[in-house]
């Protein structure tokens, strides 16, 4: 009951924001700045204690501690890289190589791994519903990831690059970032490889620039105002590739892990501030 209420609240707040952010559309170049200022102001206002994403963090914590799955256990014993049960600071140190799985995993891939190994949940059963639909309420998945990320708030990004698999993931991720293909010839770099660029009114982070990369990476998962839900990094990548006119990026796929390794390392030393607030 409480959980339902918490999940629904963000949607209502989003509606108010969209109304206020889009209401200022007079036809002049000044409007671009004022729209951006409006979003910045709202972001500031929410960061003073009202980010709808923060409510979801509490829900995520409840879900993390809840006994679930065929084995009826919680995720408390999940090893996110800093030892079983340690959530604090873990998100800032992923993607990383996990010996038990013998591969590099980003936070979401690792959480799914814990659900499978600890709780006995088959990823195939829940993967199709991890992301909420636009305008819907955030999913349990989004809540859990928001919680795990929030446990790294204020901690500097330090995705390791010591294992050969971590270095290879970074290298492949870099190549994928520049990989132009499809009918539009787009790569990630088309939109995210130069400073101060916009698509329509949306500012684009230059992910090759350390400051932009830090700002972008550390604020995901983020509360997406225009959609009224919290979105995760795996979602962000999938939706970028959709707009690149490429097929659907599979959840927890190797390419997603590689790209996230590249981005996390680029964001090195940026302090985690998730859940952030996105347009």
């Amino acid at each position: 009951m409480l959980r339902q209420l918490k999940k629904k609240l963000p949607g209502a707040i989003a509606f108010l924001l969209i109304a206020s952010a889009t209401g200022s559309g007079s036809a002049s170049a000044q409007s671009i700045d004022s729209t951006q200022e409006g979003i910045d102001d709202y972001r500031q206002m929410l960061s003073d204690g009202g980010n709808p994403g923060d409510l979801l963090v509490d829900t995520g914590k409840e879900l993390w501690l809840e006994k679930k799955g065929p084995k009826n256990v919680s995720l408390q014993a999940c090893d996110l890289g800093l030892g079983p049960g340690v959530v604090k600071g873990a998100y800032a140190r992923m993607p990383r190589f996990f010996k038990d799985a013998d591969k590099v995993m980003d936070a979401e891939t690792r959480i799914m791994y814990c659900m499978q190994t600890l709780q006995g949940i088959n990823p195939k059963d829940i993967t199709p519903t991890v992301f909420s639909k636009s305008g819907d309420i955030s999913t349990d998945w989004e809540a859990i990831v928001a919680y795990v990320a929030n446990e790294s708030a204020g901690i500097a990004m330090a995705a390791p690059q010591s294992h050969a698999a971590e270095k290879a993931a970074y290298e492949r991720g870099q190549k994928i970032f520049f990989h132009r293909s499809g009918p539009y010839d787009f790569s990630c770099a088309t939109c995210h490889g130069a400073v101060d660029k916009r698509i329509r009114l949306q500012n684009l982070p230059d992910l090759l620039n350390a400051k932009d990369a830090q700002q972008a990476y550390t604020t995901w998962p983020g509360y997406r105002v225009s959609q009224g839900v919290v979105r995760t990094m795996q979602w962000r990548l999938q939706d970028c590739f959709r707009q690149q006119r490429l097929p659907k990026l599979k959840f927890a796929s190797q390419a997603s892990i590689d790209l996230l390794t590249f981005l996390a390392v680029r964001a090195k030393e940026g302090k985690m501030a998730a859940p952030g607030i996105k347009r």
């Binding site: 013998d102 088959n122 132009r180």
Partner: protein, 210 residues
């Protein structure tokens, strides 16, 4: 103990669906990247895995961008020449269509995404990257401003041809341009390109009269 290890292996394989790879994955060659990409995407309707494959031109442009090096002169000349060779002039030699239709094409960002209705008419999405009119304030800046395009440049045959070629295959003048090859890649039809041309050149179009 042995049993546990086996169980973990199976778990890992089913989790990622990446059973094609021997873990830990330590290769990062171009071929490794292609294998990873093909394994990591799922086709949706007409949007098939072929779209991950690169043409030699796409590969050359990607490699150059990744290394941050300038494109060697001989490669550059080859890319420009190939792009120009792909351009088809309008069959009836008429460059200009209807600017009102062109404006709609410039506004529309649909087409060729897996979320689009199959067979939907693609837009040009010009405003995503270019300023074009004064009244449309939601414009991007990846490309240069095209405000007063025709007014400033006139509509000589040379200018019409240049612009047609640029829209048809932007790489004909700028190797590895960010702009999609609207004609050569089959994104817009010949008639649609004429309509966008009219938006740029017609004195009555908001590009020129605002």
């Amino acid at each position: 103990m042995k049993k546990l290890h086996y169980a973990a292996m199976i778990a890992c394989m089913t989790l990622t669906g990446a059973s094609a790879f021997a873990q830990p994955l330590t290769g990062a060659s171009d071929q490794d990247v292609m294998t990873v990409l093909k394994d990591s995407f799922a086709p949706v309707g007409e949007v098939s895995l072929d779209r991950l494959e690169q043409s030699p031109e796409q590969k050359a442009c990607s490699d150059m961008a990744a290394t941050g090096q300038a494109i060697p002169k001989d490669v550059m000349e080859k890319l420009l020449k190939q792009a120009m060779a792909s351009v088809k002039p309008p069959t009836d030699k008429q460059f200009l269509g209807d600017w009102k239709v062109g404006e709609k094409i410039a506004q529309s960002g649909v087409g060729l995404q897996f979320s689009d209705k199959p067979g939907v008419v693609s837009g040009g999405n010009c405003y995503a990257c270019h300023q074009m009119t004064k009244s449309e304030i939601a414009f991007g800046n990846i490309g240069p401003s095209l405000l007063h395009y025709g007014k400033n440049r006139g509509n000589s045959v040379q200018m019409l041809e240049y612009t047609w070629n640029k829209i048809y295959n932007s790489h004909a003048y700028t190797a590895c341009s960010n702009m999609p090859r609207f004609g050569s890649a089959g994104i817009l039809t010949e008639q649609q390109i004429k309509d966008v041309m009219a938006l740029l050149f017609d004195p009555a179009s908001p590009v020129n009269n605002e």
